[in-house]
Symmetry: C2
Subunit: 447 residues, 2 copies
């Protein structure tokens, strides 16, 4: 598709290209825009300028920030004003937040005073708060209206709203009194009063609530929109489910990155420069590298055992990995359970007891398989095989209890449980597994 459009542009058939684009969904047009090489971007601006206003604004809200910036820098002040006026407020905020200061200045200069004030207010909501993701294009009704009046009001104002599927009933001081779905409006009699059909059991969040909490409320109640209120229960905006879907993905990405000892970042991998990528990884690697000093010290303190039975060294990697993996399995399940709200701090004892019983089964199975393998295939001395396999058994038990408990402990002191994942658990379990290993070896082999 991009090729067809490019071909048309190179033959100067800009209007043909425009008509071709107009058969498509704005999301797909945005994707074609994104695929343009930098060298051809001036062509793209030409095309952008002759798209119908509603389409160009839609496309604008879906293209990545650097392309938004390029377009803004290539068009007139008047065109900028046109775009900002038409964008939904949440999309406008998302866009402005990504722009460098000079672009922001030019954009705000070309915005009506009222809108500018609103934008500044919204920019002030903390990152990741409900306020930072809401928008103001909602339908408000008052409770004395009849259904017919409400529908007429929607007919008049609905075209500029992000959604009309849920309407909000507010009083004169903008306090939220209830919600009514468009379904309810349509299924009611025209003469019914809004106050008789509204639902006053409204599920809402506050502007400063965290977006992750907001997402959980959406999920719990299967919502598609939710009102955002201030401390006086005044309606200040609404959040729509499409933004929540993005947030769920983003929060998951954050957790997954943290679980791999990476400082979380929202930037896409291929768009992030190598220094930033390196920076996000080095800190944890350094911490973990230095922490491994403990493990080194344990080996050093048992150097005489090792020197005499050097074959013991050959099983160190296997023991460390098995312990680390067993612990990570547990911590991963618990971290995920905590994130989804299926496990709570008060379940700590249940978790430990469960992990203990699971670890007995898992530890025993691994130790048995390994014992048979060591005796039959590796033809290792029985004493050594016994040492290794008792270590496996005990390490798995310990790893699973530590792995199960630490994420809950982290949560109870308000740390993100996701840091208690594989890398840290592995380092902690290593220390214990080596201590157990050498202790048992000393006993079994009489050192």
């Amino acid at each position: 598709m991009k090729e067809i459009i490019m071909e048309m542009l190179s033959q100067n058939k800009v209007h043909d290209a425009r008509n071709e684009l107009l058969t498509m969904n704005v999301v797909d047009i945005a994707q074609i825009f994104e695929e343009f090489d930098e060298a051809d971007r001036h062509q793209l601006v030409r095309l952008f300028r002759i798209l119908p206003k509603d389409v160009s604004v839609g496309v604008f809200s879906y293209i990545p920030p650097e392309l938004q910036q390029f377009i803004i820098e290539s068009i007139t002040d008047k065109e900028i004003k046109g775009i900002i006026d038409e964008l939904f407020l949440d999309d406008a905020i998302d866009f402005i937040e990504e722009m460098p200061a000079n672009v922001v200045k030019r954009v705000l200069k070309n915005t009506d005073e009222n809108l500018r004030k609103l934008i500044n207010q919204f920019l002030n909501y903390p990152e990741n708060s409900a306020g930072s993701i809401m928008t103001i294009e909602y339908v408000d009704l008052n409770k004395e209206m009849t259904v017919q009046q409400a529908l007429e009001h929607i007919k008049k104002t609905g075209v500029d709203k992000e959604t009309i599927n849920t309407c909000y009933i507010i009083d004169k001081s903008r306090k939220l009194e209830g919600v009514v779905s468009i379904r309810r409006l349509i299924l009611s009699e025209e003469t019914d009063l809004i106050k008789d059909i509204l639902n006053d059991d409204v599920i809402s969040v506050k502007t400063l609530d965290h977006q992750e909490f907001t997402a959980q409320v959406f999920k719990k109640y299967d919502l598609t929109t939710m009102p955002v209120v201030d401390n006086e229960n005044r309606l200040v905006g609404i959040i729509t489910v499409d933004d929540i879907v993005d947030i769920i993905d983003r929060e998951n990405t954050e957790d997954i990155q943290r679980m791999a000892a990476i400082q979380p970042s929202e930037e896409e991998y291929l768009r992030t420069d190598i220094f930033k990528l390196a920076k996000h990884r080095i800190v944890w690697l350094l911490v973990l590298m230095i922490s491994a000093t403990f493990t080194g010290n344990i080996i050093k303190s048992f150097e005489d055992v090792l020197q005499n039975v050097i074959v013991l060294a050959a099983f160190i990697p296997m023991l460390m990995n098995t312990g680390g993996n067993a612990g990570s399995q547990s911590s991963t399940l618990i971290i995920r359970g905590l994130a989804l709200g299926n496990i709570e701090i008060k379940d700590a004892f249940k978790v430990v007891f469960k992990e203990f019983r699971v670890s007995l089964i898992v530890g025993f199975s691994l130790a048995t398989v390994n014992f048979i393998k060591m005796i039959i295939i590796d033809k290792v001395e029985i004493k050594i095989a016994t040492t290794v396999c008792i270590t496996i058994f005990l390490t798995v038990i310990l790893a699973k209890i530590v792995g199960g408990l630490l994420p809950i402990a982290a949560k109870s002191v308000k740390l993100d449980p996701a840091i208690m994942a594989s890398p840290l658990i592995t380092t902690i379990v290593d220390i214990f597994s080596l201590m157990i290993y050498f202790k048992i070896a000393s006993l079994m082999l009489n050192f």
Copy 2:
């Protein structure tokens, strides 16, 4: 809240309890039901039976399967029929899928023949397919209708639909011809014809498309409902965004579990018995444990070096962990990028080149810090410190390239990239890091 209800029930004030519940959202009522102890469940059934039909059916769709089963086993055939008739088809399917055979038999016996046929048809869609999550309670219109006729049709039939926010235009053979939003209907003139206002650029999925793909389409186009069609483009159902939100979480959980070497399972941790938990963990642990034999063999083959410079053993854990962590960071970012569609197979070269450059920065930093630490704090011989730090540098480079490449390689042979996460990457990197370590040691220390 649960306490108040329990108190009322114990005083035999069932109707007070009912009225108390009716002030609440069905999701919250379901949660209270869930918190009842098993001993009090007969009370709960009493309460359930006197709830208004729409509320009891709503609650039923939100309670966990074992409670659904308990209720079904405690009520009459007629009551069962009432519930099944009122449930949305997707909720009915979800419920039936979780029930044991005897319950399913009883439920289907108490279902009208048409509905029974439908249920059987839906039960046949493969797990994780779009067909398995769709429902049939949608509004269909035909394109010759006027807006007024359409609205009247919605008014007549809308009460039983899962959503009326998007309506589907089909021809006589049920082929999907377009969609129209309720907003569009309301904003149009009553005399407008549906065929003139419908949107025929319909985004849909097929019954057999995977639910993960379905979720990606929802996210891409910011949808709240999507039609599902068969191979002849006949409309067979719709999917709503609330189910997609659950699927996104479920797919993320699956990925996260797979990344921690656990066989994925949808069951909540606290509800899963220990044998199942153990079973889901043992296989990978065994595979990884046996794979670690390679690492052991490398150590064995360098036993003479180790025996002579036993201090080398002290750094093995640190080297293994650092390599493993560096590799996992890379593989995690790539696995996530692939899952979100930000990275594709064709980006393999870009990824490797990026990881190579990042690894130079990271490897050099880690090696330098460690060298200084070893010389100043640990007071290790320079030759040994040099051996260790060159190994760190090379291992980090290798780990990051392997970690960046393997998930893409897995995807290109249709394996789930998530298996190329920390546990497997660590095991692979271990082998190389130890080989590098002992090779360099032999050279530096002249063995």
